[in-house]
Symmetry: D3
Subunit: 135 residues, 6 copies
């Protein structure tokens, strides 16, 4: 297990581009909201999830967003992050129908309340995108 | 919202075939273990998750298993079901590398302990399949 | 484990009547809110929880609602559903005092914050019913 | 909200009798296992859950145990305590069929894996009681 | 394990003083909000957490509040209680920087969404205290 | 929010030393167990939690371990990691009594079953250390 030789600023820049690709403005706003109180947490959020994990090659971005929407629907206490990643899933090529399917499936594993609350998040995201004229 | 006109036995048979397709023997054993104590829960487990949800057309089975592995790794208290669905994911076309990726990604959303315990489940499944000579 | 021979529309109708009996208007609204985005999830919510589970005979409805209020207070991330089922518990014969007792007891198993948040939900439901003049 | 004037030893004795009534030997063993490492946690477990909560009058013991089995099945990470309280539920008048019903119902709120694992706990308890010749 | 001979009113008074010391007005408001619906839960919240647990001598109050902020950030479904205990942590000598550190660390164990939502709670508390001119 | 200029190998080495300081052999074993299946997750576990988070200066290590024991007791589904960090807490200066206190306190926030299961983990760690003659 040899550590790689990335510098943190390489991770940061790679992560920032990946965050933009996936979450667009919504992702940026999460990071900015940390600027005054905990900029390091903002930096970690770019470096580790996006610079390290989402930048890996063995799984396509669409599959990654499916996994994240499933995980956040299961947790049930991270509605803001779920909305950001439903946007993300649509941005990287998932259809609305596929997101609805993933959330329905969570009724099996995380229970009906988790699925119903996940669907509310999807509804809000779809309406927001309808207003903006985004797919 | 018109209810469909499936009979329960159609749902059951469709679910049973789907369960076989995804989970093979491991899925059957779960159902059999319920035979004496709560056969109805066994029946529901075939009818609703497999007959209703996994049989839907809007999402491919590989994506469904990615969502399930993500959800079960996030819950962290369903190791038996996680192992069954890691088998399932491999049975429907995920690679070992992709499963490892999904579990690594859960470190971001559900924390490192959830990812580490998910990886233990994967390790056990891969060893089992190595012994059986399955991919 | 012989599958039953219900058609889905029998399950749906039985479930719809049971939903009305337990949750009245509040339950209907949950289903309607799914009409545009995921009518199938609305249908499943009627068919499986209400058509299959709540329609079973081996446990009285009052005990079922006690179990549900306990479960939703424990989860702590499903306040809307908790309010719907506190209404439901009262509709099928639980007293306000009994609901308060169940929520207090959850302090033992799910912790004091879960119990305090459950009690807030109860408070809102009781006030709503006071305004409507319902018991 | 006037504090009552119970002494702790009254709470302790009342709690101990209640624990005996509900959980019998299994409850005692939990307390004894804490004797060397954290006797105060053992004492609190008798005083607060059993001396304060389970001794309250506004809800019958059978309903209390239904709520607890529901809560522990939902948590999914407290199998030992779930087994103790399935014994408890049977000791205070629940039937095996009713316990099975409560656990099946948790498939709706906490998901199928929680219900399946809860049913495993019930199976172990029923087998143990069959061996002992207890109902 | 000999039960102590405190009367409940001693526990209550000790708990009330401890609640005041840690949470000040915010703690009082939680108790008052229970006055009409479930005064007994209010009383238990003073007696067990504050009268019994926080009054114990083997751990300093600052460490206790660190443990509580960690636990509530991990649960992720108790934002009100988290805000109360971030106030509490500051009241008993934690610095803002230390609280930020504890919440960042939770990204490791409970995941990034839990840490981000915990940080939002901290932000609100710090702004409130800035307005009041409290440290 | 300027990204720092650490290379990953600096983070890795700093993290490895920190892991050794806190968790000793137990931490090493966790990493080694990942060597064959997911060495990158092992590397991330060193780089992010230990190289980034635990190496920060604004909170002393003893407080960090208190926060981690609280978080893992609350999660309740990460007993292996809880045992590793109870060792860690003792290694960096917490007393056994303080660890017991943190776990007792979790009865308030995460419920009694979480506290009881946390105490079992502590018991196993203390016995292991007694055998080794470690404090």
């Amino acid at each position: 297990m040899k550590p790689s030789s990335n510098t943190d600023s390489e991770r940061y820049e790679r992560g920032w581009r990946k965050l933009q690709e996936i979450d667009g403005k919504a992702g940026e706003r999460v990071i900015e909201s940390l600027d005054e109180i905990a900029p390091d947490l903002g930096r970690y959020t770019i470096e580790f999830p996006f610079g390290d994990v989402y930048s890996r090659s063995s799984l396509d971005l669409r599959s990654r967003e499916i996994a994240t929407v499933a995980s956040l629907t299961t947790l049930g206490n991270a509605q803001d992050q779920l909305r950001v990643h439903i946007h993300g899933a649509l941005n990287v090529g998932c259809t609305r129908e596929e997101i609805i399917e993933v959330i329905i499936q969570m009724a099996v594993y995380a229970g009906f309340p988790a699925a119903l609350n996940g669907m509310n998040a999807a509804k809000e995201v779809f309406e927001e995108r309808d207003e903006e004229g985004t797919e």
